[in-house]
């Protein structure tokens, strides 16, 4: 984005297509990532990303800056779109694990890489088994780097509530991992965390 303050760019984008193009360039990757992690499929992620930006284009002239970051507004639309998508599909929002990217690199020994991939798949399964709000909290916090206050805007909760939710989310995630045979989070012998080999 240019040096122009975001609020000015948003005001311009209400009537200037080029300014809208700048906003698009600034946010499209983040929004796509967020949606992709929620649906786990390129075609569906593209479809929903596309719908989101058309919705933004239509609603932007009525957008009023009330102090919350513009990104929170976008994530809220994305959240609603994904929720509707899962409702329409009449299924629990589950993400096909095999489609999701794995973090480990291939520089380590092959057996170590395979072991890590297993752990990462298990971790994805555990994240996927969490309640919708908890899964979303992890994606917004770690995937998008949003603060608790911003996450609160998206989830319709207070900052304090998000803080406690994070604690409960990690406890629930640990339980999910334990049910899958991991006794110490996802690190240690079965770890996915970074190590000297990476």
């Amino acid at each position: 984005m240019s040096d122009e303050p975001e609020s000015t760019l948003i005001e311009r984008a209400k009537s200037d297509p080029d300014a809208f193009g700048e906003l698009y360039e600034h946010y499209v990757d983040r929004i796509y990532n967020y949606i992709y992690y929620r649906v786990g499929n390129v075609d569906e992620a593209e479809e929903l990303t596309s719908r989101l930006f058309y919705r933004v284009l239509k609603a932007l002239p009525r957008y009023v800056d009330r102090g919350a970051p513009f990104a929170s507004w976008l994530y809220r639309i994305a959240h609603n779109l994904v929720a509707n998508f899962h409702r329409d599909q009449a299924r629990r929002p589950s993400v096909p694990i095999d489609d999701l990217p794995l973090a480990s690199t291939s520089r380590a020994a092959p057996e170590r890489v395979a072991e890590r991939h297993d752990t990462e798949r298990t971790l994805w399964q555990a994240i996927n088994a969490l309640h919708e709000d908890r899964r979303q909290l992890l994606l917004l916090k770690f995937g998008d780097g949003l603060s608790n206050a911003q996450i609160g805007e998206v989830l319709g909760r207070t900052e304090g509530a998000v803080k406690s939710l994070y604690h409960r989310t990690l406890l629930a995630l640990r339980e999910e991992m334990e049910q899958r045979g991991y006794t110490r989070g996802a690190d240690g012998a079965n770890g996915t965390g970074t190590s000297e080999e990476d």
Binding site: S15, D16, P17, D18, F20, G21, Y24, E25, V28, D29, Y32, N33, Y36, Y37, V42, E46, T49, S50, F53, Y54, L57, P101, L102, A103, T119, E120, L123, W124, I127, L138, L139, K141, F142, G143, G145, N148, K163, S164, Y166, H167, L170, L171, L173, R174, M177, R184, G185, A186, D187, G188, G191, T192, G193, T194
Partner: protein
């Protein structure tokens, strides 16, 4: 009490992760030795989750470019429609004023002649 401290420590740890700080545990170990020890598995889990969901996803460049072009075309069209809409209202307003002026003149003419 512990729950609240645990919650604070876990959130501070997440913030440290996001800011790329690596000495989190050392910093808090002296202040809250027991809590930090108890929370160690959750710190590890948070770190693994952070690493996993940060894995980059590359969007198809063609999709990104095509969507942008379509959106810009739509934005131009919307702007045009808004302008046309504006002109229509302006024309309607002008017509209403003209009709009003003519009606007022006619009324004056009629009443003037009657006097």
């Amino acid at each position: 009490m512990d729950d609240s401290i645990h919650s604070d420590l876990l959130n501070a740890h997440a913030d440290a992760l996001l800011q790329g700080e690596t000495d989190y545990r050392e910093r808090y170990q002296t202040l809250f030795p027991h809590q930090v020890e108890a929370l160690d598995p959750l710190f590890a889990l948070a770190e693994s989750t952070y690493t996993l969901v940060r894995a980059p996803i590359t969007m198809r460049a063609q999709f990104k470019a095509t969507l942008k072009a379509d959106l810009l075309a739509q934005a131009h069209q919307q702007r045009l429609l808004r302008r046309r809409g504006g002109w229509r209202w302006a024309a309607l307003g002008a017509s209403a004023v003209t009709v009003g002026v003519i009606a007022a003149a006619a009324w004056r003419g009629t009443h003037g002649a009657a006097r």
